[in-house]
């Protein structure tokens, strides 16, 4: 058959996949290996890849070295969760409008949203800092939530719109014929059908929100108690010594929440994310 490979080809494919995955996973391997090394072993020359003194000690000691570590992880999840909730509330109606309705300035306003993708927070930091100061949001959770939402709205609208376009129109038309209002149709007919799409978009917004916290955190928030993990991790640097092994352990533990969510939903996520992009 067409797809049949010779044995040599199979070996070649596996070898190439191995190299590719090794590159993708290299930092994680290094982080894990480093987290297992006791500090004394860590700064030992010459380098040894494997040591007999490897322990999981760092995973318990890290909580006392940086007492707020648990809090940072919770903060990260909380900030990402709030960003996701607010983004979804804003994105769902807008995406519906772009998917179904015909109105003046439709494509122009969509380009405005998509144009936002061109800026990262870094370009707008100075005035954004002032806006947040005026609103009294600096050094609060909101300092990280509000800009986070703004930069995820465009992607959210884009993804959800292509999902909503695939829901058959007939159901909505049937509801209109029965005298349902537009809001009622959106709430009771469209949204229940869109649940799988909402999950995909929600999860990708959550992942995006979890990933983008660093810049907003180091710029808009000085309050240690509100710091998310990516910024909080740098506290392992600057105590008496740099506890690299504990920092790596904390980093690995800190990404567990997103990794777990990702692993459970990856199948839908990957399919949903790419569906919109590939269709056109």
């Amino acid at each position: 058959m067409m797809d049949k490979y010779t044995r040599l080809q199979v070996v070649g494919i596996y070898a190439a996949i191995f190299v590719f995955l090794l590159f993708m996973l290299l930092p994680f391997i290094e982080m894990f290996m480093t987290s297992l090394r006791p500090l004394s072993h860590l700064f030992r020359s010459p380098y040894t890849f494997w040591g007999s003194d490897f322990t999981f000690e760092a995973y318990s000691k890290m909580w006392t070295t940086v007492p707020l570590l648990g809090r940072y992880i919770v903060n990260s999840v909380y900030i990402a969760g709030m960003v996701t909730a607010i983004t979804m509330v804003l994105v769902v109606p807008a995406a519906y409008a772009y998917a179904r309705l015909d109105f003046p300035f439709k494509s122009a306003s969509l380009s405005v949203f998509l144009g936002v993708n061109m800026f990262t927070g870094a370009v707008l930091l100075i005035p954004l800092y002032r806006v947040l100061r005026t609103l009294g949001l600096l050094n609060t959770y909101w300092a990280m939530i509000v800009p986070g939402v703004a930069f995820l709205i465009p992607t959210g609208i884009w993804l959800l719109r292509s999902y909503l376009e695939k829901i058959p129109r007939e159901l909505e038309e049937a509801a209109y014929v029965d005298g349902a209002s537009r809001i009622y149709t959106l709430r009771r007919v469209v949204l229940p059908l869109a649940v799988p799409g909402l999950i995909v978009v929600g999860v990708s917004v959550f992942i995006g929100a979890y990933a983008q916290q660093f810049l907003f955190a180091i710029t808009f928030n000085q309050e240690r108690a509100y710091q998310p993990l990516p910024a909080g991790l740098f506290e392992f640097i600057g105590y008496q010594s740099v506890n690299w092994n504990e920092m790596m352990a904390a980093a690995l533990v800190g990404v567990l929440p997103v990794m777990v969510i990702f692993l459970f939903l990856q199948k839908y996520l990957v399919a949903g994310l790419t569906a919109g992009a590939v269709k056109e």
């Binding site: 490979y5 596996y14 190439a16 996949i17 590719f20 590159f23 993708m24 290299l26 930092p27 994680f28 982080m31 480093t34 010459p46 380098y47 040894t48 890849f49 804003l90 994105v91 109606p93 807008a94 409008a97 309705l101 015909d102 109105f103 003046p104 306003s109 405005v112 949203f113 936002v116 993708n117 061109m118 800026f119 990262t120 870094a122 370009v123 707008l124 100075i126 005035p127 954004l128 806006v131 703004a150 930069f151 709205i153 465009p154 209109y176 005298g179 349902a180 537009r182 979890y210 990933a211 916290q213 790596m248 980093a251 990404v255 990794m259 990856q266 990957v270 992009a277 590939v278 056109e280």
Partner: protein, 310 residues
């Protein structure tokens, strides 16, 4: 409001009022998101433009006209920074596209275990960039990191090598990390595009005796070209704006070797509190990216037409 519009539409089913009310309803749905973007993105953008004509700093601000731009125009380090940024972008995007294409092809190969491989490619994209970069920071450590350590043991290098301490090696190390961050997403989109290519095309070519390489070159590549072209633009924008990778690895050093426009802007505005000068740099970024995107979109339309995509 929504109920009224539907009643009006039902009572007098002419097209005009109905369309009008649809327009109002649509804008009511979009307004909250638009308002949010307006306050958090559009207004700061306008404010950046205004600030770029001032000498704003912690002390206050005065109108200085084009002075900030004049200073940038006259500054040769800034010209170097722009050159470096484009080099950074072109090199990194090319590598991402090539690796993404190779990765997608590998992950598309019909071999057992590919479901698992597809999941294993994703972590760099799923986790916060800042955290991945901490891993790279240690990998690049000249004395205790895995790269220099193993290279020493295998006799590839004579002594410790600090990847991030020298201008050239720091730049290319940062590129490698940036490519690492961006490749999974590119692979994923290419993979999805490849799966969308009709099998009939391949079978027809196969029946005609076309080999794998020929099918890849003459069917796969042209068929997924629109996705390649749009991914190239997206990742060019992201790469141009890539901040965290450089900031965590080198903070723009050593001696400016990894200072791209975005890092320069951040350093000027947030690091040195020169808000006005920083804003001028931000405006330069926006203008460069916008013109780059427009030129590119023009090109994209041509490509799409050539490959028969609407």
């Amino acid at each position: 409001m929504a109920d009224m519009t539907v009643e009006a539409g039902a009572a007098a089913p002419t097209t005009m009022p109905r369309r009008l009310s649809e327009g109002w309803f649509a804008w009511a749905l979009i307004a909250p998101a638009m308002l949010f973007i307006g306050v958090i993105v559009a207004w700061p953008l306008a404010e950046t433009l205004r600030l770029s004509f001032t000498d704003a700093n912690l002390g206050g601000e005065h109108w200085v006209g084009w002075a900030n731009y004049q200073a940038l125009w006259d500054s040769s380090p800034f010209a170097q920074t722009i050159g470096r940024t484009f080099y950074w972008m072109v090199l990194s995007v090319c590598l991402k596209l090539i690796l993404g294409l190779i990765g997608a092809t590998l992950l598309n190969a019909a071999v057992p275990g590919r479901g698992l491989f597809r999941v294993l490619v994703m972590p760099p994209w799923v986790i916060p960039i800042a955290i991945g970069c901490i891993g790279w920071l240690w990998l690049y450590n000249g004395h205790f990191g895995m790269l220099a350590g193993l290279a020493q043991r295998w006799g590839l290098i004579g002594g410790p090598f600090e990847f991030l301490a020298y201008k050239q090696s720091a730049f290319y190390s940062a590129i490698v990390t940036d490519v690492w961050v961006g490749t999974p997403m590119v692979s994923l989109f290419f993979l999805a595009a490849m799966q969308g290519v009709s099998r009939d095309l391949y079978e027809a070519a196969w029946v005609d005796g076309a080999g794998r390489w020929y099918r890849f070159r003459r069917i796969t590549i042209p068929q997924i070209m629109p996705v390649i072209v749009s991914m190239a633009l997206l990742s060019a924008i992201w790469t141009f704006n890539s901040f965290e990778v450089i900031w965590i690895l080198t903070q723009g050093g050593p001696r400016g070797a990894t200072t791209t426009l975005i890092v320069d802007t951040y350093k000027t505005a947030i690091g040195n509190y020169k808000f006005g000068e920083g804003a001028a740099r931000a405006v330069v970024i926006v203008v460069l990216l916008a013109s780059f995107s427009l030129i590119y979109l023009f090109f994209l339309n041509k490509v799409n037409r050539k490959y028969g995509v609407k």
